[in-house]
């Protein structure tokens, strides 16, 4: 019985991992490639969620909401990149402050537009219900959908970074900005594209997470925090890191929460992260600059 | 004469590539040794290894009788090795004077430097050094207002201030005008009178001007070693250089 439940737990753990990956991947490439700590990441997710809510109101569903959110938040990212971030790529710590300010503003503006109350975003009809795997609980289709989305997003990013011409430039810039610049790559443009791409992914995250979580102007920060945890643990600048970090945190947290309780679970995971940092400062798959 | 610096069988890989490959090198007390070699020969890496920036895969580095392989940079400094970077590297917002002051030889521990005052002899020494390199009348300007050449000299003067047994100078003349280069060469010769110097340089004019004993590196190994003329007449060296046309 207990064992069976833990297995079920392990399964739903996958969905939590998926959620973490979905939330973190946008930040991962922005942080990893453009070297920008985007503190407004959570708010980007929030905007994505609201987009989904609005699309829902207009009669669409999650599948429509995803591309829409990608475009909306992508454009938002474009504006912010052109307006603010592009001037401070060389000052990561200050980027952090500026984007935090952006976050505050986004929250307030959304509140002025949509009001303070919680918003509703439903899951598409097809994804209601679930299938029986083991245990007495069905495994919800929507969770499965989340896992698939996570996989697709990872795949998409992998493809863009490693298979496309743009990705080549990105990797060049990531390795050595100056050389890339000298070889005629428009590094500023690459940074911009990456920032927009990452923002778009954050938007998609918001769109797919909205149906199982609550949609409010203050929903962003926890996601941002989780994403940072994933990156710190998994390591920056390596997509495997996102997966690893997400997997460790997600599974550990769900299983531990089942054995003890949520808070103990969280604390243990936190402490684990700190220990890992102590051993491998740049994270499991961290990218080590030659210093 | 006892060798001050002794590198034996030094091998290192950086991100997969073998940079140094069983390199042997020994520098004697009060010697001015010039390291020559095409780009990617491993000159900068060698210096990085000696100063503890990278850990070697195998091989040992002995300095002044003790094995300093794998020590931390600050510990290695304490044994008397100072390094000049290829890109001038100093403290931008500090004044020229303070740059030198911070570099003065002395105790480096936190509570030792806490409230430690600048004594008259130290002050005079700083001024002497600044006048020696010709930065005295810019002593009060922040370092980031200096021109490139001046920055090179400032870093030189910082090294002098730290009064080491061995100076590692990594291309101290890069990006200088001819006249500046000449001046720098003179400075180096001046320094070499009282210190041991290991100079990385591939500007042949400089090498000719000051080069006594020369070591040529190629692909992480010692290609040739000896007086300037002898090395220059060495076929291998000619091949490596002329073949690749690496003169600047």
């Amino acid at each position: 019985m207990m064992l069976q439940s833990i297995m079920t737990q392990f399964l739903s753990g996958f969905s939590v991992v998926a959620i973490l990956v979905i939330a973190a991947i946008g930040l991962a490439i922005v942080f990893g490639v453009a070297g920008v700590i985007n503190m407004a990441h959570g708010e980007f997710i929030m905007v994505g969620a609201y987009t989904a809510a609005v699309v829902g109101k207009l009669g669409g569903n999650t599948f429509i909401a995803m591309p829409v959110a990608f475009i909306v938040v992508g454009l938002l990212g474009l504006v912010i990149e052109r307006g603010i971030v592009q001037w401070i790529y060389d000052r990561p710590l200050e980027t952090l402050l500026a984007t935090w300010g952006v976050g505050i503003i986004l929250q307030t503006v959304m509140k002025l537009i949509f009001g303070p109350e919680l918003y509703y975003a439903g899951a598409p009809k097809i994804l209601n219900g679930g299938f029986h795997l083991i245990g007495r609980l069905p495994f919800p289709y929507y969770r499965l959908f989340l896992i698939i989305v996570a996989a697709l997003m990872l795949g998409l990013v992998f493809f863009v970074i490693f298979k496309t011409d743009f990705g080549l430039k990105v990797r060049a810039v990531r390795r050595n900005r100056a050389i890339a610049g000298c070889l005629g790559i428009d590094t500023a443009r690459v940074d911009m594209m990456i920032f927009v791409f990452g923002s778009g992914l954050a938007g998609v995250a918001g769109a797919v997470l909205a149906p199982i979580k609550s949609v409010s102007t203050t929903m962003g920060f926890p996601y941002a925090v989780d994403s940072f945890m994933v990156l710190v643990l998994g390591g920056v600048g390596n997509l495997l890191g996102v997966l690893a970090g997400g997997a460790v945190i997600g599974e550990a947290e769900t299983v531990l929460s089942f054995i003890f309780n949520n808070v103990i679970g969280q604390l243990l995971v936190f402490l684990f992260i700190v220990i890992v940092i102590r051993i491998v400062p740049r994270g499991i798959f961290g990218y080590y600059e030659r210093r | 004469m006892a060798a001050l610096l002794e590198v034996t069988g030094l091998t290192t890989k950086v991100s997969g590539f073998t940079i140094l490959n069983g390199l042997d090198l020994s520098v004697d007390e009060h010697e001015l040794r010039v390291l020559l070699g095409p780009n990617g020969a491993g000159k900068t890496t060698l210096i990085a290894m000696i100063t503890g920036q990278f850990k070697p895969v195998s091989g040992t580095i002995r300095f002044a009788g003790q094995d300093i392989t794998g020590w931390a940079p600050d510990a290695i400094f304490q044994t008397g090795i100072s390094r000049k970077f290829q890109v001038p590297n100093m403290y931008e917002t500090l004044s020229v004077f303070d740059n030198v002051m911070v570099s003065l030889r002395g105790r480096r521990r936190v509570f030792a430097t806490l409230f430690q005052l600048l004594r008259a002899p130290e002050r005079d020494r700083i001024w002497d050094i600044l006048e020696f390199v010709g930065l005295a009348d810019k002593a009060n300007d922040p370092a980031d207002t200096l021109s490139h050449g001046e920055r090179q000299w400032l870093e030189l003067s910082m090294l002098i201030a730290s009064d080491p047994k061995l100076l590692l100078l990594d291309e101290p003349t890069t990006g200088m005008t001819e006249s500046d280069k000449h001046r720098t060469a003179e400075l180096i010769q001046e320094i070499a009178k009282s210190h041991t110097v290991l100079l990385v340089e591939h500007d042949m004019h400089i090498v000719r001007q000051i080069g006594k004993r020369i070591t040529v590196l190629h692909q992480g190994q010692r290609l040739a070693e000896g007086p300037l003329a002898e090395v220059m007449s060495n076929d291998l060296v000619r091949q490596v250089y002329l073949g690749k046309g690496k003169f600047q």
Binding site: L93, L96, V102, G103 | N89, E92, V102, R108, T113, W127
Partner: protein
Amino acid sequence: MVRDKAGKPAGKPRRSIRRAPLFPFWAVIGGAALVASIGAYPYYSTNIYVLTLLGKFLCYAIFALSIDLIWGFTGILSLGQAVYFGLGAYMVALSLKLNYALTHPTRFGNKIPDFMEWNSLTQVPGFMTPLYSTPLAIAAALVVPTLLALLFGAITFKRHIYGVYCAVITLAESLILQNFIIEYQAYTGGFNGITDYSNYVGPSVLWFILGVTVLFVIVARVLTHSRVGTVLKSIRDNDLRAEFMGYNVANYRIFVFCVSAFMAAAAGGMYAAWVGIISFLNVGPIFSIEGVIWTAVGGRGTLIGPVIGTFLVKGAEAFLSDRLADWWQIIVGALFILVVLVMRDGIVGTVMEWVQQRRRGSYRQILADADRTAHDLQMDWRTEGAPRPGEEVR
């Protein structure tokens, strides 16, 4: 760094160093005016509300100062500074609450803090009993956070973690503590925090806090002005160079981190005693980031800056936020962006920069900058992966 106006006459005498006096005249005057204006308030008015605000702002100012010490002078941006502030505050608050409970029994007549009773504790846990004694409590409030800072510094800086990573990890640290406090509410008051104990508000206390503030500003000034200060600045500018000049960079970072933690803890302790309420918000990352913005607005790398910044931002918040409602949040957000994009050195810094610009021939500087950048670009691709000076530090 400020220097006296009297530039050296052309040529002779050489060998003259222009260096700021330990306490520049204008700074002393300005500081005195500020101190007087705050200290004189109780004489001027009996308005308790503004009085409480003043005391609170002073504690915040010290907090901002402690952030400035590590960020402005050493280039470590900590988003977990509130941890040390909060720990100090909780120690003092707990002590006060315990003693208050002795004279004010709970609804069940127990002589334990109410939040312990809610969580069905019947007596004060043993490890907390030392807090009954005020001197021990004060000692704990100052020492415990400092030791934690030492531990944390050893973990991060010894491993060459700084810059962005340090920021993110300190953020994690303060989140851990925050969750911890919320979860173990039997000992910490949890989500409700600790409130309803006898706090100390009044002119004499205000002057005490004011005195401590002045003391810390002076200490910070001496510290940053001493040789150690110069070393710290050089580490901020170029830690690589400093390391190859024989400085154990990690130790210096740990040292200054502990000093600032100590200041933050002291501020927290006084805060708890003054306002009479403390909650998990005081250890959370958001409070830390608030402190960072006060510092940035006032001017980091200057010592009076954080104080001024704190009073401006918090003062505006106290008197305008209720009139501006949502727009206040937008203003705060805009402040972050503004400070980063336009006014990097904050208010004080900008003013001082302007003064210096007028002294130093700015034209020559522009030429030098252009020359240098040209060279560095040329250099950059020739050096295999050598870090750009100051990388990740500013």
